[in-house]
């Protein structure tokens, strides 16, 4: 086996985060005193619930735009879709499909807007998408709080606040488990929502197929070097916007899948942590800010949520306070993203230095003669 020094570097930095995570989880699992079957059941549920959202982050990474913190835009579009079909009283899987249909144009519009903004902030995409997400969240909340029920008529008055307009803070979704229940297999204590997994499988197939298309190839080119791509005639700005639109639409569907599993929706703040958790999951699975694959997404989601479930109880048994466990898991979630971002920026510096390194080495050898 050739130990190529150049390959070991990226391998190590790529593995640091998942490894750390595995260690933390392995320590915490026995401490939490959860049963094995409970954990397996929970992991399967979380995988079904969250994988789609995590997968929606893949394309912008491929297109060189880093972590799309603006995926919250798609999540909000999905929530709007669900709110409407809940108002119209449609249930089950057809309800979910209709929600997706209603939400998709909103997601496309928001994704386009986001893409245009990000093109004007080249080099600062991640912070811009994050703040843009917060900005649109404000507008989303305004829409739901003041326009719904007043300017936009609602059939189901139980969904509205007592003052007659404005959507309630928490909604029970009557499309709950719509996809899960499509094909549900029970193995003892563990239930496997095969229907949902099939949908996730579909998106994986889509991602793999997409990478092999001309558009996918263009996105890769733009992600690796915008200038060279531009000189070669690739429509750089347009390609970037398209990657954001696709990501937003996928996030929209992902949020619908997420909510149908949970069954209730936190109307105003439900999507706030979506980007953080999805990003953390992806990074925990070994992805970096410039390179992410489907295995990263799936493995990462499982690992991340394993830690997430286990931490509060582990915290309670170690320190006597479940709160410490909860704070610790939030710290880890943010910490993971921080480390990944730092490693990415640091590596970029090092790569630039490495490029000149061989020339400088040659020169030193020459002058030593």
């Amino acid at each position: 086996m050739k130990f190529d020094k150049k390959k070991i570097g990226p391998l190590l930095t790529g593995s640091v985060v998942p490894l750390m995570f595995l260690i933390i989880s392995i320590i915490a699992i026995p401490l939490s005193r959860y049963s094995g079957s409970y954990l397996v059941d929970q992991i399967i549920t979380r995988l079904a619930r969250n994988s789609f959202l995590v997968l929606s982050l893949l394309l912008p990474i491929m297109a060189g735009m880093g972590i799309n913190f603006g995926m919250i835009l798609g999540a909000m579009a999905g929530q709007i879709g669900l709110i409407f079909i809940t108002d119209w009283g449609i249930t089950g899987a057809p309800g979910l499909l209709l929600a997706a249909l209603v939400a998709a144009p909103i997601a496309i519009g928001l994704g386009y807007f986001c893409g245009v903004v990000l093109n004007r902030a080249k080099g600062r995409e991640m912070i811009t998408s994050m703040i843009l997400g917060l900005f649109i969240a404000g507008i989303y909340q305004f829409f739901l709080l003041y326009l719904c029920g007043s300017i936009i008529p609602f059939k189901t008055s139980t969904m509205l606040l007592s003052k007659g307009y404005g959507v309630r803070n928490a909604l029970n979704l009557n499309v709950a488990k719509g996809f899960d229940n499509l094909i549900l297999i029970k193995l003892g204590d563990i239930s496997i929502p095969v229907g949902t997994f099939l949908i996730i499988g579909l998106i994986c197939v889509f991602t793999v197929w997409f990478r092999k298309t001309k558009l996918g190839q263009d996105m890769r080119a733009v992600g690796l070097d915008m200038n060279v791509s531009d000189t070669a005639g690739i429509a750089v700005d347009k390609t970037r916007i398209q990657s954001v639109i696709i990501s937003t639409v996928l996030a929209c569907f992902g949020q619908i899948i997420y909510l149908q599993n949970i069954g209730t929706m936190n109307t105003y703040n439900g999507a706030d942590q979506a980007a953080l958790f999805a990003a953390a999951s992806l990074l925990v699975g070994g992805a970096t800010v410039t390179k992410a694959s489907i295995p990263n997404a799936i493995v990462g989601t499982a690992l991340f949520h394993l830690m997430f479930i286990v931490m509060p109880m582990a915290g309670k048994y170690i320190t006597g306070s479940a709160m410490i466990g909860e704070y610790f898991r939030m710290f880890i979630s943010y910490g993971v993203v921080t480390i990944a971002l730092v490693l990415h920026a640091w590596k970029r510096q090092k790569d630039k230095d490495m490029e000149r390194h061989s020339f400088q080495l040659d020169m030193e050898k020459e002058s030593a003669k």
Binding site: F210, K212, T213, Q217, A221, A232, G233, Q360, M363, S367
Partner: protein, 544 residues
């Protein structure tokens, strides 16, 4: 409509001229290129080569600045390119000096960048061409074919990032010839980064391409390559075609002469009167200096600078002359040894160099030389303040050093007067000054430090004639009045000859010779082209 005498002519350039903002860059350029022939295009910096290529390739900058005069005919048809895409479609390809490759892609992917072979699928019939599937085997095949045509062996599946520099050139050329309708390829200094043996392989490939009917415009400063491979030679000088000739019987010396030769009359006026300089009084010395400045690398320079002299450093673009001052001042990684006033000076330490009494006016006025969003007085006083603690008022026994804005203003007004800097006041932002006045501010910044040794890099690049004269006069005056040693680096040989006591020529990262300004001009040309070296005793060593 011109009826061409033979229909073997692929490219005909007729009376082409170009002016940028009143500055004439090309005048009455005419030449022809036949199918399957190689034309060598030679000229100093600023001769007009890049502008001519920009016109040929339809670069937007030409149309944006008023278009061009004259006409270019491709296969008898007048070209009207609005962008490089039009040029590509018409069959003209261009390989620039900077590599246009994606390191993370394979050779095959780079050769077919944005021209990938695809297969249709069900989905693409619905959603359009852009989602057709990439056909990797076809890409490999096509890339291999292009590379084989060049007569080299490259694995199409290797990542470009893992390829040696010498191979990258071939990938770029392969990309151009992969286009089915390619008729003409322009190669801009393709051998600049290659070793002798790699260059030979490239030249062979060029001949292979010509033999299958593709015409080539070959731009190079390595004159022996031009004589070796080209069928026709065109020499540009100051925007004019000074010679168009078949290469038969032409030797390197003649080309050098055409390249840098000037009218005899003009020669006489422009030489600096001889000044008495003590050869033994060396103020600054470099030994085996190397500098890693991307694009202007220095490999091995050993130079002695005499106190009180004005030393000129010239050479063609990209050969390394700009690396000399930038490396000495610590702006780029360097190695070797330097000595100032007999004592060794630390390299890679800008502050140390400045504190020792060396100042530098960078060639990058806007990027390195100025704080565009700050006023003139800031810009002039800054270095002196930071390095020599001038323009500061000290309080609390030196713990607090407060900006002395009155002193800054006074200093700025002084220089505004002496250098005739045209501005609304000393508070005007540097951004709003013209190029010439910006350059004067940069000079003032250096003068304000009262340096013993001053490096000035490309002092008159891109500024108008009046400002040019003033800049050079103030340098001359500063040297005369203060006995400040000045090292001036410039692409304009004439400028160097008018102001320097000696002129060193840098080629391929080394000094190929130092000559007095009144030496025959052709010698400068040959040094620049790297045809021979002249050592300290004046002996010539022919290299090729």
């Amino acid at each position: 409509m011109n009826l061409l005498s033979t229909d073997n002519v692929l490219l005909k350039v007729e009376g082409v001229g170009k002016e940028y903002d009143g500055n004439r860059v090309l005048k009455d350029i005419s030449f022809t290129l036949e199918k399957g022939k190689i034309l060598g295009l030679v000229g100093e910096n600023g001769a007009g080569k890049s502008t001519l290529m920009n016109i040929l390739f339809g670069m937007k900058v030409i149309a944006e600045t008023g278009g061009y005069e004259g006409a270019v005919y491709l296969n008898g048809e007048k070209i009207k390119f609005k962008s490089p895409v039009d040029a590509l479609k018409a069959g003209i390809g261009m390989v620039h000096q900077e590599f246009s490759l994606i390191p993370g892609f394979t050779v095959g992917e780079n050769v077919l960048l944005n021209m990938e072979k695809t297969k249709k699928s069900l989905i693409s019939k619905v959603l359009g061409k852009r989602v057709e599937t990439i056909d990797l085997p076809e890409i490999r095949k096509s890339a291999k074919k292009a590379i084989d045509t060049l007569g080299v062996q490259l694995d199409t599946d290797t990542l470009v990032s893992e390829m040696p520099v010498g191979h990258k050139q071939f990938i770029e050329i392969a990309r151009e010839i992969d286009r089915s309708q390619v008729k003409l390829i322009v190669l801009d200094e393709p051998t600049a980064v290659l070793t002798e043996s790699e260059a030979e392989i490239l030249l062979k490939s060029m001949r292979l391409l010509a033999d299958i009917g593709i015409s080539i415009v070959f731009i190079s400063h390595r004159l022996h390559e031009i004589t070796a491979i080209c069928d026709t030679i065109v020499v540009l000088r100051d925007g004019l075609v000074v010679k168009e000739t078949p290469s038969e019987g032409v030797d390197v010396r003649q080309i050098a002469e055409w390249m840098v030769g000037r009218d005899v009359d003009a020669e006489a006026k422009h030489i600096r009167p001889l000044v008495k300089i003590d050869e033994k009084d060396i103020i600054f010395e470099t030994r085996n200096l190397w500098v890693d400045m991307p694009g202007e690398t220095i490999k091995n320079v050993s130079l002695k600078v005499r106190r009180g002299e004005i030393l000129g450093i010239g050479g063609l673009a990209g050969q390394g002359k700009l690396g000399v001052p930038n490396g000495i001042m610590g702006l780029f990684v360097s190695g070797g040894e330097i000595f100032f006033e007999g004592k060794p000076l630390q390299l890679n330490n800008t502050l140390n160099a400045l504190q020792s009494g060396i100042a530098f006016v960078s060639e990058d006025r806007r990027g390195v030389g100025l704080l565009l969003d700050e006023p003139i007085d800031w810009n002039i006083a800054f270095n002196a303040m930071q390095v020599q603690n001038k323009f500061l008022k000290s309080y609390l026994g030196g713990a607090i050093k407060w900006r002395d804005e009155k002193a800054m203003k006074a200093c700025a007004l002084e220089y505004i007067k002496s250098l005739e800097i045209r501005c609304t006041s000393e508070r005007q932002l540097a951004r709003n000054l013209s190029g010439g006045n910006q350059q004067k501010v940069c000079l003032a910044k250096a003068f304000a430090m009262n340096p013993k040794l001053l490096f000035v890099s490309e002092p008159t690049r891109g500024i108008d004639v009046g400002a040019k004269k003033l800049v050079l006069d103030s340098l001359r005056k500063y040297n005369e009045e203060n006995n400040t040693t000045i090292v001036i680096i410039s692409s304009e040989l004439e400028e160097l000859r008018s102001i320097s006591d000696r002129i060193a020529i840098v080629c391929e990262g080394k000094i190929f010779g130092i000559l007095p300004p009144n030496s025959p001009v052709v010698d400068f040309g040959l040094l620049m082209a790297g045809e021979f070296k002249i050592n300290e005793e004046g002996e010539k060593t022919w290299l090729r």
